[in-house]
């Protein structure tokens, strides 16, 4: 397949704002999770919160977009000189030829949550309480980012739960390949809200302490928030997307296929598109959420594809599960592993589950990585695997 290089990228998560925070968090084997500290009474759990989102203010001309998700998007876009990278991309391609494809699971739903809570007796919310289309609507953050950056190409927002912002890479590739745009800004943005906290709590999938993916005693996820963005364009060299695979479990709405059959298919399709064999992959960033069922299913899938012979780890013990942003953030972690030559560890892993067959890297280590895979699996049985690598002229 035609290769797309990552011309520029930035990411913000519980480790902090910008690439350096993530790099030092991963290399240092740090967990940025903390006991929940939202103002609202909430379930007893730990979260991966991004500091300073509350203090972000949107430009006056875009005030209608104000919600936590768009503030987080703005905070992330302002790091790492990324705006300059976008300006250079506009100069190269023209604003109408750059697509915008973002992933999120809950967009700015927290504005509606607040409206319902603060006006409990109102049969109708008052017009103007907030601008639904620019905040809660699933496309709101895509519209905000496109407008703020002055991009004018195709745009949509993918929302397939926890695979949302992994799938944006495949979408961007297809749009570029089909000639609908020449380059793409892809991203993932998801912010803390009561819907996901109480929703995962209702499903009994929230860990009461820090999440411990792959651990014998793992007991659920820690919800995080974050945003990541990457500029993709066809190029002859650099680090970029070389394969993707997507599939549907068709098994259950909120539980993965127990043998990870279709997760394995997504991984295999990504390998096939990249023209690589399993032994070429130097590192896999696992989905590894920390629920009993997810890690067990992914282990089965990994075993089927790699036979337990690949270096891999999951990073949600560091950042929490950033849901709709996880695909993007962890794709960028995989690219950072290639760029900087290291493999992240699993800071919250105590005792690896002996029933899981795939050995994981516990402590981050320096190691050359040429090809890396990133796995994302979501509710509704939505699977996506991506392969990144060094593209050489």
């Amino acid at each position: 397949m035609k290769l797309l290089s990552i011309a520029d990228y930035t990411l913000t998560n519980a480790f902090g704002a910008g690439r350096t925070a993530s790099l030092s968090g991963l290399r240092g084997g740090r967990s940025a999770l903390r006991p929940i500290d939202l103002e609202e009474p909430t379930p007893k759990t730990w979260i991966g919160r991004v500091d300073g989102v509350e203090d972000v203010s949107l430009p006056a001309s875009l005030a209608g977009y104000d919600c936590r998700n768009n503030r987080l998007a703005l905070l992330a876009l302002e790091q790492d000189g990324f705006l300059e990278g976008v300006r250079r991309a506009i100069a190269r391609h023209g604003a109408t030829r750059i697509g915008v494809f973002l992933g999120t699971s809950t967009s700015g739903i927290e504005r509606t949550e607040h409206a319902y809570a603060s006006l409990p007796d109102q049969k109708h919310l008052p017009v103007g309480e907030h601008d639904h289309a620019l905040t809660h609507n699933m496309a709101a953050t895509g519209r905000f980012v496109r407008e703020w950056l002055g991009l004018r190409g195709p745009m949509h927002v993918i929302s397939t739960a926890c695979s949302s912002s992994a799938k944006v890479f495949a979408t961007a590739w297809r749009h570029i390949q089909a000639g609908l745009c020449d380059a793409a800004l892809v991203g993932g943005v998801d912010s803390l809200c009561l819907t996901t906290l109480y929703g995962f709590n209702a499903l009994e999938l929230l860990a009461s302490g820090p999440c411990r993916p792959w651990d014998r005693d793992r007991a659920g996820i820690s919800i995080g928030e974050g945003a990541g963005f990457a500029l993709l364009e066809p190029a002859a060299e650099g680090i970029g997307l070389i394969g993707y695979g997507e599939s549907s479990d068709a098994y259950h709405m909120s539980t993965p296929h127990p043998e990870g059959l279709w997760a394995a298919r997504a991984m295999q399709d990504a390998l096939d598109r990249s023209g690589l064999s399993p032994s070429d992959i130097d590192y896999v960033n696992l989905h590894a959420t920390g629920t009993r069922a997810n890690d067990q299913a992914e282990d089965q899938a990994m075993r089927a594809v790699f036979g337990g012979k690949v270096c891999c780890s999951g990073t949600k013990g560091g950042t929490g599960h950033t849901l709709g942003a996880a695909g993007m953030i962890e794709a960028l972690f995989a690219c950072m592993a290639i760029e900087h030559g290291f493999v992240p560890g699993m800071p919250t892993l105590g005792q690896p589950d002996p029933s899981l067959h795939t050995p994981v890297v516990v402590n981050a280590r320096e190691q050359r990585v040429d090809y890396a895979m990133s796995n994302s699996f979501g509710f509704g049985g939505s699977n996506c695997s991506l392969v990144f690598g060094r593209i050489e002229a």
Binding site: T112, E113, H136, P154, R174, A250
Partner: protein, 260 residues
């Protein structure tokens, strides 16, 4: 980019099924909207059927009509501006109560890809699936996404566009007055095959088409973001070569050429 339209599904007040709606859409019969009861698809297991909201039901009903009973494993694109606001209304109401009694089923139904999940589950389809939103441009974006999938992966794709009507409490902020779902099965272009062809044209500042000749149908087009697909469906019902412009982003429009 050119694709063949191999199946069509439609469900909306007064438009119960594509075949039944052709005379109305072609302007040969008057449009008289009347409420309908969305059906739970028989191909889904009873447990799953029980959990399906009206929004999920209309999406699956349109998809089923477009696909027929053929058990072909197609990739899918589900496009919806709002997803399921009925579920959001329940969740936000529960979150505003003292003990926040959120239901696990409501939560998993709240994901934007819930209809896609039920579809693939019911049809035992393991193909790739995308669920997206682009506000008012959701149908056009879904179509562009589906066409790019047909074009680059040389496979047939099921496109479903749907939005339910907005519950009372949220209505002032997001007024959607009628439910609407439509679906298209898109196949790769092949010069010798017959049927109806769709070609993606330019995105321009030209205004999108309206259905001014039929105020009631124009009312439906404006009452639901997914119903912005209606000018294309009307052109297909008339069945002659023509082009239509559907709303895209920021007041722009995308031109679609139809050949029969």
């Amino acid at each position: 980019m050119k694709v063949r339209i191999a199946g069509v599904g439609l469900i909306a007040p007064g438009l119960e099924g594509w075949q039944a709606s052709i005379p109305v859409l072609a302007g040969r019969a008057p449009y008289s909207p009347s409420p309908f009861e969305p059906k739970a698809p028989a191909f889904c297991p009873p447990n799953e059927r029980r959990r399906m909201t009206p929004v999920i039901r209309i999406a699956l009903q349109a998809a089923l009509e477009a696909m027929g009973d053929e058990h072909v494993d197609l990739s899918t694109v589900f496009a919806s501006s709002e997803g399921d606001l009925g579920v959001i209304d329940h969740l936000c109401t529960a979150l505003a109560e003292p003990h926040r009694p959120v239901s696990p089923t409501q939560f998993h139904n709240s994901v934007h890809n819930a209809p896609a999940g039920y579809w693939h589950l019911g049809r035992k389809s393991h193909a790739a699936s995308t669920s997206l939103s682009a506000g008012e441009a959701s149908f056009a974006s879904g179509l562009m996404d589906a066409m790019s999938l047909v074009h680059t992966e040389a496979r047939s794709v099921l496109l479903v566009a749907y939005d339910g009507s907005t519950p009372e409490r949220l209505h002032p902020l997001c007024p959607i007055d009628q439910p609407f779902a439509c679906a298209l099965v898109l196949q790769p272009w092949a010069s010798r095959s017959g049927g109806v062809w769709l070609e993606l044209g330019a995105i321009t500042a030209e205004p999108s088409d309206t259905l001014a000749a039929d105020p009631a149908l124009e009312g439906l087009r404006l009452a639901n973001p997914s119903a912005r697909a209606l000018p294309l469906l009307c052109a297909m019902a008339i069945g002659s070569e023509r082009s239509v412009r559907l709303p895209y982003l920021d007041g722009s429009s995308v031109t679609l050429g139809l050949a029969v």
